[in-house]
Symmetry: C2
Subunit: 391 residues, 2 copies
DNA sequence: AGAGTTTCGAAGGAGCGCTTCATTAGTAGC
DNA sequence: GCTACTAATGAAGCGCTCCTTCGAAACTCT
């Protein structure tokens, strides 16, 4: 029988915990004085100083110019060196590849976009990915060797080891060892996950669902998806296939978009990509036919949304994805439908991150990965900052 | 802005962690030698001894007779004093009130059952609860003042503070402040939760889903329910209403049992309670009409089950509740249906705890409560054992 | 320039866990 | 019945981490 949890332990472990506590207090807090840090960590000033000194020696923390103004002796100030490593977030969709470059705090430094055709062959899309990343690096004046991790959100079902098991939106993607290919390309750790899940993560960290413990994120676009935050953590499931509610016919998500695409009001010859947007815009203007189509669409959308809300009882449901541009048309009716179906209806909010939610979620995922690697109890003592060539 | 997590800290905190580690290593492990304990906790022998000495002083640990046989000097042995406190688990259903008495390890010492009519008034059911508990106490020779906690599983939606917001099975229950009433009755902390959720907890701790991180528990009986274990923890949801998928018509769980009740093969005059069981038994014998009814029943059951499996991607789905007696008829077809609907089908297993799953889950919930209260980091240092009159 | 305020840096003390070693209590073999 | 072996016990001494306390330093306000 394996021993349960290796809790407690050594004195060095206590130091490690306090180092982590200090790192967490410094992360994203800008310039912090020693006294402030001591208060946040709960340690005494001398202990905090010792911990901080160690972090400075390891290269994770730097001193910045002392504070000006105020009473008493000016305090020296310190900051987390978020600029010592860089991360790439990728959103691989049917029509676009988006990339963003961020520092270790997840602060965005550069963004690019590369259009691709949904039916483009694998290599073409991979080339677009490479261009998008190269563009980000050039914009920020960085190099490949500055990258510590690349996180990717893509449509479809992704296995735990980063292969694309199946993608309806990008046919050529099915069966690809995406993580492996990108590792070759970028020479650093690559994390791959489903795009809807990463979007949910972003909304939870910096968007409309900030602070919520239980979140249902509805990725509404031509094709639907869902991402779940449960107990403050992204839920992936045993086989990393959580959120694939679309596949169940009774949930009516497969046919939902059809109501928008096939609305009679859509002019002949409108491309299938633009039809839904046309109907939504027409509904906003008050065209009766369009409004009826949107109503039918919402009826179908609400079935799956209600199933999730009833099953999980989340604090908030986020309406995100491409169609969330039309949140003004969709939000209130969705809320009304959920209030009819649910005993304890959740809040319903529109995404605040819009089109960028997947890229931002990928960045957040990469930040988490770095944190797990360097700043968790399991990872051993806080390690020295890797040399400038990357980890 | 509130300070995030009060991690790390004092030297005393380290001792606390090690005390907890020792308690956890002792819980449910019977008699343990000092060396074995040292190995499990990861501490050195002398440190382990000191920690153990403290726990003995506080009254949580006792020495037992030294081990006989074996090489070398016989080791002194120690055990967790699970018998110093007692817990009650209750299952309040439409037709029965079940009670169990357990020690602090969750080991069952006595069980009783009191029949009640579904339409019985509140006070009658409350009296049955009192009788069931009194019976347990008498069987084990204990008294009310020996109880440290009472945990209750009941049908219906339970608010976080222990009121019954709504119960379809027990009409008189709706609106009752169950936790308040039982606290008056028993004079100790009372925890109330939905019965399906507690059953899921029991299967995760000691039943068919032991060790699984993500579990969907299907409570199949006259009325359906669901309980979710996510990331190893019972999922309650923001308003403690998680699992109420039944309420959604599209999921077809409301009408499912009807296929069994209304099967032509059921003899005239069979009571509504027994009709479904009759059909299931007939299906097992191979009666074509019954088999067709069970098929239709399974079609409906599978819709909700598939929705849950697709959304959460659990490791295992447990078929539990009253109808799990007929798991031989239901399990394989359900598995086949899930394999058709799911990209990565979960394992499907029958409950191993049967009728007792709710009572056992209530006990497990009560054990968790005691653990949270006495043996967690948040609870401060491990407290002295309360005096014999209860906590 | 002096009082007040806040931070800095060093010294001394207490708690906790680790290693080490002599001692003790049993079994196995002759 | 005696000796050799084995494994646990108990006490002593060490090192690490955090704490409290104090005088000195640096800057603002009057």
């Amino acid at each position: 029988m394996p021993h349960p949890p290796p809790t407690g332990g050594d004195l060095s472990r206590l130091r490690r915990l306090n180092s982590l506590s200090a790192v967490n207090a410094l992360r994203g807090a800008g310039a912090v004085t020693l006294s402030a840090l001591a208060e946040r960590t709960g340690l005494s000033r001398p202990s905090t100083k010792e911990v901080l000194g160690e972090l400075i020696d390891l290269g994770w923390v730097a001193e910045v110019s002392p504070s000006a103004g105020g009473m008493g002796r000016p305090a020296r100030r310190y900051r987390f060196r978020a600029d010592r490593g860089h991360l790439i977030g990728l959103d691989i969709g049917g029509h676009n590849v988006r990339a963003a470059l961020a520092d270790l705090d997840g602060e965005i430094l550069a963004e690019t976009r590369q259009p691709v055709l949904p039916l483009a062959p694998r290599e073409e899309r991979l080339a677009a990915i490479e261009r998008a990343v190269a563009g980000c690096l050039a914009l920020a004046g960085k190099q490949l060797c500055d990258l510590w991790a690349v996180a990717v959100g893509t449509t479809g079902i992704v296995t735990p080891d980063g292969r694309v098991a199946y993608s309806a939106t990008i046919p050529s993607w099915t069966g690809l060892d995406l993580a492996g290919r990108l590792r070759e390309l970028f020479g650093c750790p690559v994390l791959v996950d489903n795009d809807s899940r990463l979007a949910a993560l972003a909304e939870n960290r910096r968007g409309a669902a900030r602070g919520a413990q239980d979140v249902v994120f509805l990725h509404v676009a031509r094709r639907m998806g869902a991402g779940l935050i449960i107990d403050g953590k992204l839920h992936r499931g045993f086989g990393a296939a959580a959120g694939e509610l679309v596949m169940l016919p009774e949930v009516r998500w497969l046919r939902a978009t059809g109501h928008l695409n096939e609305c009679e009001i859509v002019p002949e010859g409108t491309s299938p990509e633009d039809a839904a947007g046309y109907t939504l815009a027409a509904a906003r203007r008050g065209e009766p036919l369009a409004m009826a189509a949107v109503d039918r669409y919402l009826d179908d959308l609400a079935v799956g949304a209600a199933a999730m809300a009833l099953l999980l009882d989340p604090e908030v449901v986020i309406l995100g994805g491409g169609f969330s541009r039309s949140a003004d048309v969709l939000l209130e009716p969705l809320r009304a439908r959920l209030e009819r179906s649910c005993m304890r209806p959740p809040e319903v909010r529109a995404s605040t991150l819009g089109e960028e939610c997947v890229v931002l979620g990928a960045i957040d995922y990469a930040v988490d990965h770095v944190d797990r690697h360097y700043f968790t109890t399991e990872a051993g003592p806080v390690q020295a900052l890797p040399p400038a060539t990357g980890p």
